[in-house]
Amino acid sequence: MIEAIMASSPDFLLRHAPILLVITPLVLAGISSFMPNGRLAWCLSILATAASTICALVLLGEVQTTPGGVVSYALGGWAPPIGIEFRVDALNILFLLLITIIGFLAAIFSWPTVAAEVRQEKRALFYAAYLICFTGLSGVAITGDAFNLFVFLEISSIATYVLVALGGNRDRRAFPAAFNYLIMGTIGATFFVIGVGFLYAATGTLNMADIADKLAQSGSSRTAQAAFAFIVVGLGIKAAAWPLHLWLPNAYAYAPSFVTMFLSATATKVAIYALVRFAFTVFSANIFDPGTDFVFLFGPLAMIAMLACSFQAIFQSDVRRMLAYSSVAQVGYILLGVSVGTAAGLSAGLFHLVSHALLKGALFMAVAGIVLTYQGTRISDFAGLGRAAPLTMTAFAIAGFSLIGMPLTAGFQSKWLLLQAMLDQGWGFAAAVIVAASILAVIYVGRVLQAVFFQPPANPRKVRQEAPLILLIPLWIMTLATLWFGIQSGTVLALTNEAANAAIPMIEGQP
């Protein structure tokens, strides 16, 4: 398929795919804010995300065919390291694909829930904000410039604050949630920018590849270490790494359904990308040894996250809050894989990231469908829905199984890879934590599924009513993808392996 796209795409697209990927949604965001009604803006957002998806596929083809696997695009013809560079390698193409494809599916799915949850005069602006957020996220993933990364991070974050706050029409608690998110997010971004400042002080350049070279030459210094500390904390807040996750549960619980779905599948993932990029590529091995330092930094925090937040998820009465806590726990899984510092661990972490993005997206989509047709997100509201909305709830159940890590789902594959990566390193305790957290997942997912399938409807007025078709199609695409990657994980595994090897050139070749 990629060959076909490569072959059919014009020369212009081949040459400028990196910038088109980012600029198309940005321009269309501007246009859509002037749209007279939301439906047109919706069409524009589908158009923009589809264009970006095509660009990402083209880029994938280019990355795979370019020797060395790096596609570099100098903005405005100003060659790096002075000019801003868009730099795509095996690591970020994975994230670009994830963001664009999920962004595209999310855009398709969005209309019914947006129409139900956002006031009419705000819809065009809502889509503009969505496209800006999308731009920011894909920009973070594509840029090769540290400061530019900050700018894109803030572009996406500011749009996100707005999107979360738009949930205030339905539940006013969205406003304080968005406000707290804003405070935390800005502090995180500012920490990041301090770190970038230190990096600039240490190396005199902002291009990430260049910084990596310079640091490798100059060796460790206090300045570089300070930079690392600030960047890790800053991105840790954005990635909702425990214990910097406190903004997340409320923001996810009260944002409009569509926003929650999109953010859960992409926003924290992009921050994790930046973290991986900085930890593994920029701070090359002689500043910071992923094999040892990361272990002490992220390993314990990740394990606490997995246990503590899975545990908190059990006691939530609101499905979306429960899933939000589960997201923090899943970030723990990803960081645990990353923290091993081996290519296998990183690959496992990235695989989990992809599978989690898919399954959490599907779960939140299903919840959005329920919010749309039945209102209410508490577990008691879900009682008996297995009968009323079998298609939606079957997808929910499959994604839930994947969250638990049942065989034949992507979640199982990722947990398998994680366990193997842990045991390869002799980390029996970490493997034990993974399975313990999975058992906690059984409990919290089981609570909902039991209510859905085995309890009589709390509200007898609930008639058989599925979510609209336009919502079901993306939902089932993601659900089937979850299943498919559980049965045939080869495609994704190849991508994540390449990504891990691109991120860890130093220890490439290790199992």
């Binding site: 013809g77 100003w78 060659a79 390291p81 002075i82 400061f147 900050f150 700018v151 803030e154 500011i158 604050y161 707005v162 706050a165 205030g168 339905r170 539940d171 006013r172 608690r173 406003f175 304080p176 968005a178 406000f179 804003l182 405070i183 800005t186 502090i187 971004a189 500012t190 920018v193 301090i194 400042g197 600039y200 002080a201 190396t203 005199g204 350049t205 902002l206 260049d210 310079k214 030459q217 100059s218 210094s221 206090r222 300045t223 009465s317 508490r378």
Partner: protein
């Protein structure tokens, strides 16, 4: 010791501001005050960047005096030979004079070195000794703070053919961007405060939380009336 402390006065001020800002952000219950704290915190970072870019004795990075006049011929020739030796593929002219000043701030502890640029100057001035590690070699013997790095700055003047000392423009540019981002964040934050005030009638975060808790309690008790008022 006193010299050490005083020499870094900028940084102390920045750290002070940063702590004040963070403290206000976290301690205050008033949402506006929290935004103020956030702004103070961000401002400290702006100052940090500006400090990074400052070259002692340097003026704002706008060409003036002889540089502005003589730019065309005094530097043009140099640039020509420069670009031949250039393996970085830089094709633009305007930045080149400034590069020298980037390279002028050599320091190992907090002010920028741009090794790539030093490499460049190294290539056409010290062709014999020019190697990739020039930057680090240069960096270590100058332990001074940026504020005292004028000697190095003057040294580099000769390399670039510029007559005056300028500050590093790049951090200024960066921080302009960051200021814009900060303004945008602040405006979104203020807009949120307005909406919070509209729907809760207060801008004190603890009161907001109390109201939320009472609604949540009522929801748990399945009291439809209170839920209705909450929406």
């Amino acid at each position: 010791m006193v010299e050490f402390i005083l020499g870094r006065a900028n940084y102390w001020a920045i750290i002070g501001l940063m702590m004040v800002g963070l403290y206000i952000t976290f301690q205050s219950t008033n949402l506006i005050k929290r935004l103020v704290g956030l702004s103070v915190f961000q401002t400290s970072v702006f100052l940090f960047y500006i400090t990074l870019g400052k070259v002692a004795g340097g003026s704002a990075p706008i060409l003036y005096g002889k540089d502005a006049l003589g730019h065309g011929d005094s530097h043009g020739g140099g640039h020509g030979s420069h670009s031949e030796a250039d393996d970085h593929g830089r094709v633009y002219v305007p930045d080149t004079p400034v590069e020298g000043h980037d390279a002028g701030q050599l320091d190992d502890e907090g002010s920028p070195i741009d090794p790539a640029l030093v490499d460049d100057s190294g290539e056409h001035t010290e062709a014999a000794a020019g190697d990739g590690n020039e930057a680090t070699d240069h960096g270590s013997p100058v332990p001074d703070d940026a504020a005292e790095g004028s000697v190095a700055g003057v040294e580099q003047l000769e390399l670039t053919g510029l007559q005056e000392v300028y500050s590093n423009p790049l951090p200024h540019v960066l921080i302009l961007t960051a200021i814009v981002v900060g303004v945008a964040t602040l405006s979104v934050g203020l807009a949120l405060v307005v909406r919070i005030r509209e729907s809760y009638g207060t801008i004190e975060s603890d009161e907001v939380r109390l109201k939320d808790i009472s609604i949540a309690d009522a929801q748990d008790a399945d009291d439809p009336e209170v839920i209705g008022s909450g929406e």
